[in-house]
């Protein structure tokens, strides 16, 4: 079995002086796989991604990317190291064209030939990108904007992509397209760490799953097994008040 591409080991993190949000959390992402984090609001799912991408410095534990300790490194450094983060909500630049949005994903890449190759790659993977290249990104539907964000995240040939609630605010048809694109990213060799409220749907396409609550992993394992595990409902849906 291949070594894990991204590892968060015993990570502790929080915002400002407030109490810890992550309390000794460990998550591992193997190459070319989808690992899904599910859990109730406030479980710390988005915080895991922020810590992994360098947007939030951990207070304890370590982060290992492809065998190298990258704990404390900033987002630009991690982006250059092959880790890309698609933020929650719509994060396109609405007043810029789809093409400009996608090219911004390769802003740190100076090699024009490589950029052109990546553009061809993402245009094939996400047909809407090619079809609406000159349109303003803000004029696209929510699902299309999400595909532009995915395309942008793949411009640096990342080995790991962090996706924060990609189906948020999308209709069922657009959600289906987004999940289909996630599996295509995995099939193209990219590892995906996915945070998603739509737990059942996310676990259906994931290889591994982790259920978080109060900053810890309470349940983890192969996604198909998690889907049938009765504790998933207990942990994710919470217990009714006495």
């Amino acid at each position: 079995m291949a070594a894990d591409l991204l590892e968060l080991v015993d990570v502790e993190a929080g915002y400002g002086r407030a109490a810890l949000v992550l309390r000794g959390l460990t998550v591992r992402v193997p190459p070319a796989s989808v690992v899904c984090l599910v859990g109730p609001n406030g479980a710390g799912k988005s915080t895991v991604l922020k810590v992994a991408s360098g947007l939030l410095a951990p207070r304890g534990g370590r982060i290992v990317l492809d065998g190298r300790d990258v704990t404390g490194r900033g987002p630009q450094s991690l982006l250059a190291a092959g880790l890309s983060h698609v933020l929650q909500g719509h994060s396109v630049f609405p007043e810029m064209t789809v093409g400009e949005n996608v090219l911004l994903g390769a802003y740190t890449v100076r090699d024009k030939v490589r950029v052109a190759e990546r553009v061809d790659f993402v245009r094939t993977l996400f047909p809407v990108v090619g079809a609406r290249w000159d349109a303003l990104a803000g004029a696209l539907s929510g699902g299309q904007q999400k595909q532009v964000e995915f395309a942008r995240s793949l411009m640096v040939s990342p080995r790991v992509v962090l996706l924060d609630e990609p189906s948020m605010g999308l209709d069922p048809k657009a959600t289906a397209t987004v999940f289909e694109q996630i599996t295509r990213m995995r099939d193209a060799g990219t590892a995906v760490l996915l945070v998603e409220q739509n737990a059942r749907r996310a676990l259906e396409i994931a290889d591994q799953g982790c259920v978080l609550d109060l900053g810890r992993v309470h349940l983890s394992g192969p996604a198909p097994a998690l889907l049938t595990n009765p504790r998933l409902g207990d942990l994710y849906l919470g217990h009714p008040p006495p």
Binding site: P75, F93, M96, E100
Partner: protein, 340 residues
């Protein structure tokens, strides 16, 4: 993709505009009209210079008069105190201001939004006090007389004509720079900063360096505009040079024309400049022209929030065939759209 006819229309428009600028001094009915033309093109220079920072990064500086004023004084003082050739003084003045803009930019660009606006205003007020009190160097409240760069036998109307064309050359250089930046990797980074600075940084755009570069370029061109105006007008008074109204006018003109358009500030300057002179002529020495300008600003905010050029572009796009919101489609086309 841009169609051939669209490119032709744009090229023809550009040639027409250049022809009009070249021919304007000959078409002006009298020296007063010509001098109004110089004032308007001077506004266009300042607004376009402002737009390097305002249009590209979205940082709204109300204190850009600091750089036009400094450019004017630097040019005048280099001629008077160091006996430098006027044209060399103009260029040196621009460079001096660009160097001064580096530490100012490093400090001011650390804050965003309303805080940046306040910092920019503070700078112009500080400079006003300094230039009013430092009488031995700047002439204080009595002002500073700047020698004319042309010989005495060049009469006033001919001076207007020459300065109109000098401003036009400077404006053309600035527009070319703006156009080049707009299409460059640097420009794409700046526009990303304008849209969302944090997001741009997370994608690897060196936001601090880029903002500073745009700020310094803007200060340099604004200083050249101020210096050229000083050479033309021949007199500098700190009250007018370091006035917040001058900076506000740069913002108003750019917003009116469209801050994201190459020619937006130029269009805004023509409208505001002409309107100012028109209202002044209509209402004499009263302050009615300021009221009229206020009404104009309100109209812009209410009806043209993106400016004249984007509004006209949007209107033309709607009139183009196939761009209407309601259009006829065949059953096959509709089915194909639904499948997509």
């Amino acid at each position: 993709m841009r169609s051939g006819s669209e490119t032709f229309v744009k090229a023809a428009g550009l040639v027409g505009l250049a022809g009009l600028v070249v021919a304007f001094p000959g078409l002006a009915s009298d020296p007063f009209v010509l001098s109004v033309g110089v004032v308007i093109i001077s506004y266009a220079v300042l607004a376009t210079a402002w737009n390097f920072v305002g249009g590209f990064t979205g940082y709204i500086s109300l204190g850009h008069a600091a750089y036009s004023g400094l450019g004017g004084y630097a040019t005048g003082l280099l001629i008077l105190r160091a006996d430098v050739n006027p044209w060399v003084a103009l260029l040196l003045g621009g460079l001096v201001v660009a160097v001064l803009a580096v530490p100012v930019g490093i400090a001011a660009l650390r804050v965003r939004g309303a805080s940046f606006v306040i910092v920019s205003i503070a700078l112009v007020l500080v400079l006003l006090l300094v230039f009013q009190s430092w009488e031995s160097v700047t002439g204080g409240s009595d002002g500073l007389r700047v020698p004319r760069p042309f010989d005495a036998d060049v009469l006033r109307p001919e001076q207007h004509q020459r300065f109109f064309h000098l401003h036009a050359v400077l404006l053309a250089v600035m527009l070319l720079c703006w156009w080049v930046i707009d299409r460059s990797r640097f420009g794409m980074g700046l526009k990303a900063i304008r849209e969302d600075e944090d997001k741009a940084r997370s994608l690897g755009v060196p936001t601090v360096r880029y903002k500073l570069a745009a700020f310094v370029v803007s200060a340099f061109f604004t200083a050249l505009g101020g210096g050229l105006y000083a050479l033309w007008f021949g007199f500098l008074d700190p009250i007018f040079q370091f006035s917040i109204l001058v900076g506000s006018n740069m913002v108003l003109m750019s917003l009116l024309g469209g801050v994201r358009s190459l020619f937006g500030p130029l269009v805004g300057a023509v409208v505001v400049g002409y309107a100012t002179e028109f209202f002044k002529a209509q209402y004499g020495d009263t302050q009615m022209h300021l009221v009229a300008m206020g009404v104009l600003l309100a109209v812009v905010v209410l009806f043209l929030p993106d400016g004249i050029i984007p509004a006209v572009r949007g209107l033309l796009a709607r009139l183009r065939p196939g761009q209407a919101s309601i259009r006829e489609v065949t059953q096959e086309e509709l089915a194909a759209e639904v499948r997509r």
